[in-house]
Each structure stands twice: as C-alpha cells, then as structure tokens.
C-alpha cells in the first residue's frame, strides 16, 4: 500500500504529489464554480482551455498568453528571492511603475534621441527606477528595522500617485492646435492625460505576425522583441540563484538566521540583495511594457494592470523555484488569456472575473497542499508495513 511518511527538508515524491493534488483540486473547484457563473459551463471550459484555436489565428492568441507569462515570470522570480529569505516585498506593482517612469525619464534626460542605440539605456533606466523604489523599504528594513511588507505596499499607492501627477503636469503630452489658416497656435492636452509617445524606432516590434480575424489583414502579435530581453534576464537571474554563491547565501538565509550569520552573511546584505533583485526585475518589466505595449505613460490606474500583485501569486504557485515559477506564470497567463477570450464571447455570457477566480483557487489549492511536499511517498507491501 501507499504510505506518506514525514521527510524533513522535503522529498521529490511528496512535491510531485502536492502539485498533482493541487492541480486536480483546482480543475474540479474551477469547473464547479464555472457551472454557477455561466450558462454553458462545459462549452465555456472547453473554449477557455482551447482558446488558442478559437477565433483569430493561433499566433495572435498565443501571443497574449506568452507576453503576459513573461511579465509575470520575471517579476515573480525577483519576488521569490526575498520570499525564500523571509524578506517580504509585496510592492512590485509600484516598482513596475517606477521602472516605466525611470525608462521614460532616461529617454528625456538623454535629450529625447530618436535612435535604436539608446534602447539599452532605457532598459537600464527601468532597472534603476525599480531599484530606487525598492531601495526605500530595503533601507528602512535593513537600517531602521521598519516592516518592509507594509512599507513596500504603501509605496505602491505613492507610485500610482506619482505616475498620475507626472502625466497630468510635467510630462503631459498634447496635440497641436491649429488656427483656421493651419498654423499651430498652441497645444491641446490629451484626454485622458498621457505623456508623448516614444518614437517608433524605440519600440519593441512584433517578432511574429498573424492575420486579423475580422479583416484578414496581417497584424503584429504580442510576441515582441522585448520578450527576448525578459527571457534573457530570467535565464541569467535564475542561473545566478541556482548555481552561484549569491544564490546559496540567499538559500541559507531561508533556513535560519543563525546559520546565515555562521556562514558569514549579514541579514542587512540579504535584505538589500532581495530588494535590489526584485525591484530591478520589476523595473525592467515596467520598462519593457512601456516600450512594447503602452508607448506612453498614462495615469496610474490605467497604466497598471495588477501584474505586480498577480506575480505574488505566481511566486507561491511556483513554490519559489525558478522552474516552477516559469511553469506557473505561463499556466496562469494562458488561463487569463483564455478567460478574457471567453468573456469577450457574448453568447457564453461569462464574466471577466473568471480568470481571477481560477487564479485565487489555484493559489489556495497550492498553499493547502504545500505541507505534502514535506512528506515522502513510499510503496510498501501490506505485510511489510506491519513488521
């Protein structure tokens, strides 16, 4: 018979079992919920899971899931570093905004050049922007013992206000106003407020093209060159965490503060490292989002789409491991894109909150089964188990 024995430090069989149980539970509970939320639960579920083959071309549909998956994965990877070491950065949403602001300001500071050569500087500006925003809770935690979880969260609201202020006052873009003779006589601010758009040479263009479902014309998918940047960053940071001394010291910090000190690592350094990695990655994602999707800064509520908060869920779903996070990010992004496809189909009458529900259900199932990964699955004959 199959038995579960406690295994200190975890065991692969228990981890596998916990993922399996969580997945099955998520599917079952989601299906029950869909039955309540929609008129045609079976068809809704089918279209949600196969949305890439419904409407439009597969490339267009896949693009939605792929781009969102990369954003979520990169932010979540950064967050997981701190979470392992007990450093709670839950303000990635604000660092994402600060990254976009950093990239845009870098462009302005350089004199608003129109050349591809400045793109790396914009990305660097994004990383720095995110790091600066993350440095506030890091410094307060490391040197003044202030709760970093609450400070990082409070700064999300402050970053949202900063973004709104910037596009409504100093960075507000406007369209030229012409008099009857066609001469420019002034400038009408955009409404809703937004900054001037980045010139097209500074944008990450689509790598893959698909055909529009309605007109049949060739359109760019969301699979853009910025995803290569994010993929590269993910690969490098994941490799550092898995195979280098820095990654090891952060894992040591996770097991105990005493072991950490014994190994010659100070907790202040751990806090700073965690925040700089997570802030930098969230900032980079913000910069890529600006250069690939929004092109201009807009008011806080419109620019931010909760990627920074969803990434917290991804980090836990992926069990704080680089491989798990990648899998969780793409799975959730696929479900999100499928759910928004389903919500856009009037005959299904599904609510656009379906994705959020499935995300929450998956998180709770994953957390509830986490204890299983601390167990070991063994196969024993009935007689042997008595002996």
């Amino acid at each position: 018979m199959i038995r579960l024995l406690p295994a200190k430090g975890g065991h692969w069989s228990g981890a596998l079992l916990s993922v399996l149980v969580a997945t099955v539970a998520t599917v079952v509970i989601s299906a029950i919920l869909l039955a309540f939320l929609t008129d045609k639960p079976v068809r809704t579920l089918w279209e949600l899971l196969t949305y890439t083959m419904q409407g439009g071309t597969p490339a267009v549909q896949w693009g939605k899931a792929l781009s969102e998956g990369f954003y979520l994965a990169v932010i979540a990877l950064g967050l997981s570093v701190g979470y392992k070491a007990g450093v709670w950065n839950i303000g990635a949403e604000g660092q994402f905004a600060a990254g976009a602001i950093g990239a845009y300001l870098t462009w302005l500071v350089l004199g608003a050049p129109v050349t591809v050569a400045v793109m790396p500087f914009l990305l660097l500006g994004g990383v720095l922007g995110g790091m600066v925003w993350a440095a506030i809770p890091a410094a307060l935690r490391a040197h003044l013992n202030t709760n970093e979880l609450l400070v990082s969260l409070m700064l999300v609201y402050v970053a949202t206000n900063l973004l709104t202020y910037l596009v409504q006052s100093p960075l507000q873009g406007c369209a030229p106003a012409l008099d009857a003779a066609g001469n420019q006589v002034g400038c009408i601010p955009y409404s809703p407020a937004q900054s001037e758009k980045l010139p097209s040479v500074l944008r990450f263009g689509p790598l893959v093209f698909g055909t529009s479902a309605s007109s049949g014309a060739s359109i760019g998918t969301k699979i853009h060159s910025g995803l290569l940047v994010l993929g590269g960053a993910y690969f490098v940071v994941a490799a550092i965490l898995l195979f280098t001394l820095i990654g090891f010291r952060l894992r040591v910090a996770q097991s105990s503060a005493k072991a950490e000190r014994f190994a010659g690592f100070s907790s202040a350094v751990t806090i700073w490292l965690s925040f700089m990695i997570s802030g930098g990655l969230a900032g980079l994602t913000g910069a890529v989002f600006l250069m690939a999707e929004s092109f201009s800064l807009t008011v806080g509520g419109a620019f931010l789409s909760n990627l920074g908060f969803a990434a917290i869920v991804i980090a836990f779903l992926g069990r704080l491991h680089p491989v798990g996070i990648l899998a969780a990010a793409f799975a959730i992004a696929y479900i999100n894109s499928g759910a928004s496809w389903v919500a856009s189909q009037p005959e299904l009458r599904a609510d656009d909150s379906v994705a959020g529900f499935i995300e929450a259900i998956a998180l709770f199932c994953a957390l509830a089964t986490a204890a299983l990964s601390q167990r070991r699955l063994i196969w024993k004959k009935e007689a042997a188990s008595h002996g």
Binding site: W88, I90, L140, L144, N145, T146, N147, L149, L150, V151, L153, M154, L155, Y157, V158, N161, L162, T164, Y165, Q168, S169, F309, A310, I312, V313, F316, D351, D352, S353, G356, F357, E359, A360, L363, F364, L367, A368, T369, A370, A371
Partner: protein, 337 residues
C-alpha cells in the same frame, strides 16, 4: 480668537476617516494577539464594503415591510436607509467578512498553510470577488443613512456636527476600550493571549489553541467587514460603491497595529493620526500656497506616507516591540508536531 467651528469640522473629518481604520484594527489586534497574522484585511474590507452597500440598497423598503407596514407606507423610505436596515446591512457585511475569514481559518488552522501567503491570497481573492460582482451594484442607490441621535441635538450650533457623527464612530471607541478590558481582564482574553504568546505551552496545558484561533480569525473578519461597510455606506457624502474603494485602508489597519505595538489605547491614537493624514489632503488642497507637485502628488500620498514615517519612528525602539509582540505570531501550529 480660536476658530472653534473650523477645528470641530476638522475633528469631524478626522473621526470619519479614523472610524473604519479603528474598527478593522481592533479586529486585527485580537487576531494577532492570538498568534495569527492575517494579511487579508484589505480583501475582507472590500467585500464588506460591497455587501454592505448592496444590502443597504435592497433593505430600504424591505425592513419597513418586515415590520408589518404596508407597501404604500413603506414607499416613503425608498432610497433611504432606516435604522433596522442600517443595522442589518452592517451585520451582513460583517458576516461576509467572517465568511472570507473562514477560508483563511481553514487554510492556516487545518492545512497549516503559510500565514503571509494565505493572507495575501485572501486580499487578492477579495478584490477579485468584488471586481466580478461590482458592476451589478452600480445602478442601485441609497440616499441617506439613518441618524441615531435626536434631530434637536444634531441641530445644535457648533457642537451639533460632532454629535451628528455616525453611531459606529461612538461604538468604535467603545470597542477599543472593550478590547483592552477583554485582553487584560477576562478569562477568554487571557486564553487568546496564551495561544498567541506560546502555542506549545498553551496546548500542553490543555487549551484548544486552534479553536481559539479560528474564533479570533472569524472575529477579525467580522470587524473588517463592518469597517468596509462604513466606507461604502457612511464615509462619503452619500452611500457609494466603487471597485477598490477601500484604497489600502485594510493595510493601514495592519500598520496601525505595528504602530500601537499591540496596545489597544495606542490603536486609538494611531487611528486618529492616520485619519488626520486623510483630512489634511482635503484641508490643504484649498489653501493655494502649495506648488502643483505638492497638491497633485504629495497630498494624495499623505495617507500612505504618514504611516511609513510613524512606523520608522516606532520601529527604532525594538525593545518596545519585543515587549508586546505575541511570541508565536504567524507561526503555523499543529498539535501533533
């Protein structure tokens, strides 16, 4: 000459913003005293805000009919909240908050899940729930909230506005004092503190640690739900529902507990301070001497910057925090281990 009217008006605004923070924070205090860290306050509050609003808008004439009056008599109450409707709406909001909290209790007390992760998940779940059902509530209307005190008192010059504050404001201050009494003077309060201070010891002498914690978690959810309903039903000029309208109030309640270093009367002080940060935005906006970045960026951010500032000041004294922080805070506990 002190302008009494001005200061009283400011005090009324401060109390208005402090009330939901105080109500939610008392819940958080009891929860944390039992050794549980529930970061889902924001989620439970937003659900309470929505349920309270929807209940309030349905209960306008329903409560009148339930009391046995006929439909024609009840028509005069349409769009305004009567006292039974007001009480029912708040109770329902509290129950909704407790229902969400029961999920947290199941996760942390039965499945031994991580408190921080589960709490964050609860907040995300609450925001999702209200995003889903929010739009349905938009075309409902509630026009006024019942006044508890006699009109003659509220019409008094100067002091009238202060007396006219919502009943819940009075109750929240009473609840703060009651929580002090509960934690320090009652047997049940001692049990709560024992469970929070050292769950192994409490379990060893036979106290039902998990049962106590489930109880406090549900209480915390109930209070958060009521606090949320205050925001949608009472805080603004007229009852309103908007997605995300709690705007971080649940997180501020958690910050309040850190500020208070788990002492009930300092929770009151903190709530007034945080309420002042909200009111300053409205007061200073109209003064005209501030540069545009001050008005558009710093002032709206004050409710979040002030808590950060006070947390920095408080946290420097780590001895004071250690003296009152529950020993087993946020540690998962299972009797078998």
């Amino acid at each position: 000459m002190v302008d009494l009217t001005y200061w009283l008006a400011l005090l009324v605004t401060v109390l208005n913003y402090a009330t939901p923070l105080l109500i939610a924070a008392i819940g958080v205090l009891i929860v944390e005293k039992s050794g549980v860290l529930n970061l889902g306050v924001e989620g439970m509050m937003i659900v309470g805000a929505m349920v309270g609003y929807v209940a309030g808008s349905y209960l306008d004439t329903a409560s009148c009919k339930l009391m046995g009056f006929d439909g024609v008599t009840c028509l005069q109450f349409e769009g305004s909240l009567t006292i039974p409707g007001y009480i029912a709406a708040f109770l329902l909001a509290g129950v909704a908050g407790a229902a969400l909290a029961s999920l947290f209790a199941l996760m942390t007390q039965v499945f031994n899940a991580n408190h921080v992760a589960t709490g964050l998940g609860l907040t995300i779940l609450g925001l999702t729930l209200t995003n889903g059902f929010g739009p349905d509530a938009k075309d409902m209307r509630v026009e006024s909230v019942a006044n508890i005190l006699p009109d003659a008192w509220v019409d008094l010059p100067v002091i009238g506005r202060l007396l006219g504050t919502d009943l819940l404001t009075y109750l929240s201050f009473a609840a703060a004092v009651a929580s002090l009494y509960f934690l320090s003077r009652t047997r049940l309060g001692m049990l709560v503190r024992a469970a929070g201070e050292n769950h192994h010891a409490a379990h060893a002498i036979g106290y039902p640690v998990r049962l106590i914690r489930v109880g406090t978690i549900l209480f915390g959810g109930f209070m958060a739900g009521i606090a949320g309903a205050y925001i949608s039903l009472v805080q603004l000029e007229a009852p309103t529902w908007r997605e995300g309208m709690t705007a971080g109030a649940g997180w501020l309640a958690l910050a309040l507990i850190l500020f208070s270093t788990w002492r009930p009367l300092r929770v009151v002080l903190g709530a007034l301070l945080f309420g002042l940060a909200f009111s300053l935005e409205l007061r200073l906006q109209t003064m005209g001497w501030m540069p545009s970045w001050g008005v558009q960026f710093i002032l709206p951010s004050l409710p979040y910057l002030v808590p950060v500032l006070v947390l920095v000041i408080i946290s420097r004294n780590s001895a004071m925090i250690r003296a009152n922080q529950p020993g087993s805070l946020a540690e998962p506990f299972s009797p078998s281990s």
